[in-house]
Symmetry: C2
Subunit: 314 residues, 2 copies
């Protein structure tokens, strides 16, 4: 049997036919059209899925289930998407709508969660007892997989790691709260910290890399400068590692998964990031002499969205 | 079948014979003797268990399993207790040692965790899909129950809610870290906040209740004064509610259990505490229009330790 996975993003929708081991057999893609009524958008997704299936050499009889990862949350009881701001979806009965075009079991999950599931089926945490996937991007997302199954909580509002409070009355967050973890552990946080420091230290390597325009600073530029030994960039890097390590230690002290997997844009810093995090996390653990979660980088890259969505139905 | 539950505390050990529904049929108790070698302590526990069983009218043939809740952690793979500071236990193979006296399956769990399990079998969260139990005492403990089973993590070091960081570089904690949740959400935190304030406000009702001796302040005195409208006590109470609600919101945003159950000494404040927490928690949730965890008070009281320990083997 094969599975169809749909990675629904704000600008494009990637669709793949995936085998039982999480290998992508064929891919397709369409643009996200938030200008269209959601019914038409979903009709286009169904058409692309059927075309991709045909190109994979399979028929509908081979399809066990369809899964979609969306940048929002999902009611686990009904598979209705209550809201998905980037897609302008509000109370979309996604499963029912898609089944009008393709009569197969349909599953929906949060995008960070399905990326975590993908790593747990076909990636770095494959076969693990339990894992928490952390996407370090513009924001911070989380995906919890326990015993091979996605854990999104009883009401489907869980695994929002980025909005756990890490600093009482801390930095204001886009969500309206203060001190959310993602204000300290995202790429956005790296940029904010760097911009603050280069104001007082315009001689930093960071400023050279952006032709003295702080608006052009991104996380990669800061980490690259840190790797080259720039003191200001290193200061940002060390501070970031400290925040991220405290966040990871929180996950370990509370949930103690077998593995913690770091994904998202910031994780592309590779071993420079991973080695530093691994060295720092133990400082914040309650049980310092006991074994604890293995910390690894995600390995599936952008395909994780398709693979994880497909595996929702497995 | 019946189960034997052992609630192992720093001063006393409560032992009970418990039926399949979590009802205590018979109780016994011995003193904790940290002056004795652990083997002898465990021999005394076995003897008390057998005596309690006899008094319950059952025989060993009726016993399905024995469980013990200890103030420490347990290696889930071996049931060895790596350390249990209050009992002076270090690397105690508890299950093996107890089985030398009573040849039955033996299970061991953390005391806060087993109290949470008790509520999930025979208490307020009975039959729930998932729950997080929070003990608000001298420290803050946590117990995670998912699908009726205790979740202590892959390495057995999880559910240590009290040592998640809630405030970066915050109050120093007994564990060596800074800003741990229990520095803000325990009875100890209430006492600390009250002592700080009464220094500048010696006219507070709190000071009258302790004959102007701040060393005598406890959480109940502060909450009682708050209930009577004392402004200083209310200030401590509101601040405490805010901290506790942010901690509870963190649990919801991350794990989203069906229920959150509050136990421990502070929870004896009853609806005065519960109503305030229920009103405050929604402010810190990411999804403010979605259903979220029901928050309740524990109902089993001190018996939870025996019941939960017994139910470890169910």
């Amino acid at each position: 049997m094969v599975y169809i996975g749909m990675d629904v993003g704000g600008t494009g929708i990637q669709i793949g036919v995936v085998d039982e081991d999480g290998r992508i057999l064929q891919k397709g893609a369409i643009n996200t059209r938030i200008d269209l009524p959601v019914e038409e958008q979903i009709a286009q997704m169904a058409a692309c899925a059927l075309d991709t299936l045909r190109r994979s050499g399979h028929t509908l009889d081979d399809v066990a289930a369809i899964g979609a990862g969306v940048p929002g949350i999902v009611d686990p009881a009904t598979n209705v998407v209550p809201f998905c701001t980037n897609l302008k979806w509000h109370h979309v009965p996604f499963a029912d709508m898609l089944r009008r075009h393709i009569d197969k079991p349909v599953f929906v999950g949060n995008d960070a969660t399905v990326a975590g599931l993908a790593e747990s089926v076909a990636g770095i945490s494959a076969g693990s007892h339990s894992s928490v996937f952390i996407t370090l991007g513009t924001g911070v997302g989380g995906g919890i997989v326990l015993g091979g199954k996605v854990w999104s909580g009883f009401h489907g509002v869980g695994s929002e790691l980025g909005h756990m409070i890490l600093e009482l009355d801390g930095e204001p967050c886009t969500c309206g709260n203060f001190g959310c973890l993602e204000r300290y552990c995202s790429a956005t946080a790296i940029i904010r910290m760097a911009r603050e420091l280069v104001e007082r230290h315009p001689d930093s390597q960071i400023m050279k890399a952006v032709n003295s325009d702080p608006a052009k600073i991104n996380a990669k530029i800061v980490f690259d400068a840190a790797r080259e030994g720039d003191e200001i960039a290193l200061k940002v890097f060390r501070r970031y590692i400290r925040y991220l390590s405290q966040a990871i230690a929180n996950v370990i002290n509370f949930l103690d998964p077998e593995m913690i997997v770091l994904g998202g844009g910031v994780s592309k810093a590779g071993s420079f990031l991973l080695d530093a995090v691994r060295a720092e996390v133990p400082k914040y653990l309650l049980y310092k002499t006991m074994p604890y979660s293995r910390i690894e980088l995600a390995i599936l890259g952008p395909d994780a969205g398709i693979i994880g969505a497909a595996m929702l139905g497995k």
